[in-house]
Symmetry: C2
DNA sequence: CGTTTTCCGGAAAACGTTTTCTTAAAGCTT
DNA sequence: AAGCTTTAAGAAAACGTTTTCCGGAAAACG
């Protein structure tokens, strides 16, 4: 392996000079810089990030921590979108992302988590879908040992940023648009997780609209599960005018139930996942750009790691209507 | 940061001794080991993998290189399954996996790729879906600079292993079962990619069955695209008895076309992705356990990195019939 | 022209491990 | 008990960088 030492010899300078060229330090003359760069290309030198990290004590490594149910029957495309968005941006920024799943650290206590991430030389965390019940993970963030960016959860201190769409507004808007022009008054609202941040915000948005329009809203918790939403729909839909769900997956569950019951009720979703293309119905929903959210999370983490202070980032959302895709009957 | 040095002082031994304990070397007495371990827990010492990697010149880092179309309208769940399987196994083995997408390295030439992976201190590659046309990536593997495991592509030398199901047999079997008891003789076979390894193998299987049963098979290339399969079905299905596709996604496309044409033809798929749960039809297909395949790839890479010789691994497959899920009409 | 300042480049320590080599002690063998 | 082998533990070099500090030369100044 060709090292900085070889480059120095080739260029006839000291290794510190090479390092300075490599890192764009000031105080190195143009000619020296050229000599060094020539030597670098001549030798095909590739800086060793490991050595660099050891010496500088900066690894540029971050962990993308995601809640993925590895045995779910249905695929959740959101984690994949996060991964794509984060990794691409990380490459651009010269950062290094490792992906970690909740399940991999689920049984760890805080100290073990800290140890795990420290041994991996992780400096920052991007956490998707942290809920109030993820005690250890939450404590990990609060420990202040790592800079963190929380997707869809509120930040905790100056080392932590938060990034999410305006869920309250989005739910308000999509439900409003969905109900606009209809006579629906009795609504079944299938909420997400109890104690989930986004779920609570969306519920607030729903309630605000209900107050405004004088709707009767029955709220039930669907736990972001297709099956649960299906059961709830079975149970309550007959006496309701419409069903509004806090996620598209639950909306699919609701639709399936309606078909089973052989009744029609309009259904409103949330997320805009492309999976919906298979649902076969046109449906109002909220589109989040998950790749962009993850990319922004990486940018934000990078800012945090350079000493920036934690903040709250609101990402844009879109109201869309998923088109009927001539799907299988 | 508490270092091995601190542990050594605390335990009253030399740092080399601590290192030996850490790495389970022989020639260290039980009492010393206990003293050291006590010091480690007392101080909450976490070994620094960066330093360890620098010193030992073993990083245990591998790249999982995947072909993901980041702008695809439909989600392909397979990459996610690979990621989950690989990362979980990697943690188990103390390896370190970074995920890389084809798009990120697409415009690089071989040397740039080598440089990129070397600078990342990558020692091994797991590549999913390498095709004959990925020239640079292929040369990268052939360069011998990295140990590689190729999923769904043949190995090239002793540094490379290959892992895949028996595609030829699987296609033969599923088509046979699919046609069993029917009078279908004129088949539209929608193949995958031209020059794709798995596609060619599957086609061989299909042809073998055709010979055996005296089928008339029209072969067309669908490029693993839903849209393409849909077009081909439109074009040819009317004069055929059944449609056999080299992937589930294409099978969905075929089904959509049949609905548009308002004719019925049985359709056979391949892959067993859970997305099919939304397709609304019962369908014969081949189930691959992608998580398990990726996990085995990691194991195999680990073996390779320890000096093992490249080999060909055949993974099991299952013939399944995806159930009708009372889906949306 | 002497003094101060600025600018370059080099020497060397440090980062936290691993690993080789050495030495001291202890255990055998005869 | 002398010589031999085995075993345990330590000393120190090495891994490839970064970064601080220092010295000399050139430039600026009065």
């Amino acid at each position: 392996m060709v090292s900085i030492r070889d480059v120095a010899k080739e260029a006839g300078v000291a290794i510190s000079t090479v390092s300075k060229v490599l890192n764009d330090y000031p105080n190195v003359s143009k000619e020296t810089k050229e000599k060094v760069n020539a030597a670098i290309t001549a030798l095909g030198f590739v800086p060793n990030t490991i050595a660099s990290a050891l010496s500088s004590k900066k690894t540029g490594r971050a962990a993308l921590v995601l809640d993925v149910n590895r045995h779910a029957q249905t695929v959740d495309e959101i984690p994949m979108q996060y991964i794509i968005g984060a990794i691409n941006k990380a490459k651009e920024k010269g950062m290094d992302i490792i992906t970690v799943f909740f399940t991999m650290i689920a049984e760890m206590n805080v100290d073990e988590m800290i140890r795990y991430f420290q041994s991996q030389s992780i400096e920052g965390l991007i956490i998707g879908g942290l809920s109030k019940e993820d005690i250890s993970l939450r404590k990990l963030v609060e420990s202040g040992k790592f800079k963190s960016v929380l997707i869809d959860a509120p930040g905790v201190d100056e080392n932590t940023s938060s990034i999410h769409i305006d869920n309250e507004k989005a739910q308000y808007e999509v439900a409003r648009k969905f109900l606009n022009g209809t006579v629906c008054r009795k609504i079944l609202y299938i909420s997400g997780k109890k104690n989930g941040y986004v779920s609570e915000e969306r519920l607030v948005g729903m309630n605000r609209l209900a107050d405004e329009l004088g709707l009767q809203v029955l709220v039930r918790t669907g736990n972001f599960s297709e099956l649960e939403a299906r059961k709830l729909t079975m149970q309550y839909a007959a006496s309701k005018d419409a069903i509004i769900c806090a996620s598209d997956l639950m909306a699919i569950g609701a639709m399936k139930a309606l078909i089973d019951m052989d009744i029609y009720r309009p259904v409103c979703g949330f997320d805009g996942v492309s999976l919906m293309g298979y649902a076969g119905k046109q449906m109002h929903t909220v589109r989040q750009d998950f790749q962009n959210i993850a990319a922004s999370a990486v940018e934000e983490l990078s800012r945090l790691m350079e000493g920036g202070c934690g903040q709250d980032l609101i990402m844009p959302h879109k109201l869309i209507r998923i088109k009927y895709l001539d799907v299988l009957s």
